[in-house]
Symmetry: C2
Subunit: 318 residues, 2 copies
């Protein structure tokens, strides 16, 4: 068993070599308008243009490729209502691995359809992540399928970290990186890769105000669990960051900031209008905090846009 402190840049580089044929190297796009408002040069790392519409396939693919060929035949199982579901489903489809995704009973039909569209079997069960976790684990026990966790796993973190590796390679002048924070897969991975490659770079996490467990944990120095938060940032409704994730975040991250839903929606819509790119509210967390002046990072600044699978009902405020 690898210890948490053992995860290094080498793991991220190995992940990159492994997943390269399967995932997009997303563009790092400049925006004059956003830079002018922020008062620093801003570039967006566009994981909304990633396959399946979010960074999640990076970690999912890395985890799946780590399963030995014999075990792959027994399939994989994951629980998620969102981008992790689609990431695992597509990664499994690409590798010819049977996948079962446990989704909440009250899932938006479009998300169920998208997951089915990638060829996964969907089991709808419960409405809390605890119920779904239990269902996923019982499916795994019955079938021998491997559970692919959404964030608290070294393979997931290393896969997500390839986002940071690409930023640091392409733009070594970057001084700050802003990253949306849910369970911490992306923030841990990006901070690990970026601060290893560019020792002076400052990495910030941004959470929805109602789900500020990460900020509380960061400030207290231990993982804090909160009650299920109500926020439009559905990718950041996690109750607590993962153990693997927190061990890296507390060492590598400069600070964690929050933004409230009203301002998050405002800046999400603003960013979509100006960049002509569809961004989901969770994906706009970093950008919204920057444009709102919630943090003042040294420029130039890379902002990770983690996904683009936005619900119209959310974007339209209904």
């Amino acid at each position: 068993m690898t210890r948490q402190s053992d995860l290094t840049l080498d793991d991220v580089q190995a992940a990159r070599d492994r997943i390269k044929p399967w995932v997009a190297r997303t563009p790092l796009l400049t925006s004059r308008t956003l830079s002018a408002i922020a008062g620093v040069e801003v570039r967006l790392k566009c994981e909304n243009l990633q396959r399946a519409g979010a960074f999640k396939i990076r970690g999912a693919m890395n985890a799946l490729l780590g399963i030995d060929p014999e075990a792959r035949k027994r399939g994989v199982v994951a629980f998620s209502s969102g981008n992790h579901a689609q990431g695992v489903a597509l990664a499994a489809k690409l590798l010819g691995i049977p996948a079962t995704i446990v989704m909440p009973e009250n899932s938006v039909q479009a998300k169920v359809d998208a997951t089915l569209g990638y060829g996964a079997r969907v089991v709808q069960a419960g409405v809390t992540s605890a119920t779904r976790d239990a269902v996923a684990r019982s499916i795994a026990e019955e079938t021998g399928a491997a559970v692919i966790p959404p964030f608290d796993h070294p393979a997931i973190i290393a896969g997500a970290g390839t986002v940071g590796l690409e930023i640091a390679e392409e733009w070594p002048e970057v001084r700050s990186i802003l990253v949306p924070l849910g369970g911490g897969g992306l923030l841990a991975g990006v901070s690990l890769a970026a601060t290893s490659m560019l020792p002076g770079v400052a990495v910030y996490g941004v959470e929805p105000e109602a789900g500020n467990d990460g900020q509380q944990s960061f400030r207290r120095g231990e993982i804090v669990e909160i009650a299920p938060p109500s926020t439009i940032a559905d990718g950041a409704r996690t109750l607590a960051v993962g153990k693997w994730n927190f061990a890296i975040i507390r060492e590598r991250v400069r600070d964690i900031e929050t933004i409230d839903d009203e301002r998050l929606l405002h800046w999400t819509r603003f960013a979509i209008s100006r960049t002509k790119l569809l961004i989901e509210p969770t994906g706009a967390l970093g950008l919204a905090a920057l444009l709102e002046g919630r943090l003042h990072p040294e420029g130039p600044v890379a902002v990770v846009v983690s996904g683009g699978n936005a619900d119209w009902s959310v974007l339209c405020g209904s």
Copy 2:
């Protein structure tokens, strides 16, 4: 005075050489999802990623560069509530020419702000295009400024035609091209360039059902004027196609189809969700008609997405 039939591919090529330093060569993007639904290979010519968010700057820049340096000092004037306003304003700013844009009194403030943001002077007058035309012409008479018409002018058509030239150069295998139709600048230009370069290619125009003056004109063989149409496709609310435009369209275009607003909004939102690109309803006319099965073009098909300056109120159906 050039006769209407004299406009040729040479004019489009000259326009391209002239405007090249100032406008983007927009990407021609593939979409597996959209191709699967259409049953033919589909690529999107993304003028929503053009400077100022629409194809309009191509014609505007070509027209402005055609004004002699002495006359440029007296400025330019245009009337428009939409993309032509921003196209002329940005083109004028880039060339250091003073610009006055006459916009309706009931303009959306965001559009006024965007036009002001490009450094133009904005005069708000009337709510009909006839009033605004009169105001623009009186400003032109008083100041000596040149009027830049939105579509019925050879320089505007040749500039817009560079969209077709780029498609034909980059993808000579294309068999059909779908183009949104308002006043006909884009449709005339694209059909002129594309059918000149690729004689077998079929070019189709698509209008909102409520504003089908182009289809009526095409079928009757003469320009038909309609009452102001009510449609969410605000770039296609023109009452009649232009004379220069119609002379080219009747010779070069295969057919003109329509799509109603309800299906247009449905497919606009669908396309945004799947491509992760912001598309305005007018810009999605061709794509909506294709996905709805209103026309069945021979593949492969290039679909011109003419702009991405979508209002949230329209996208959200409010």
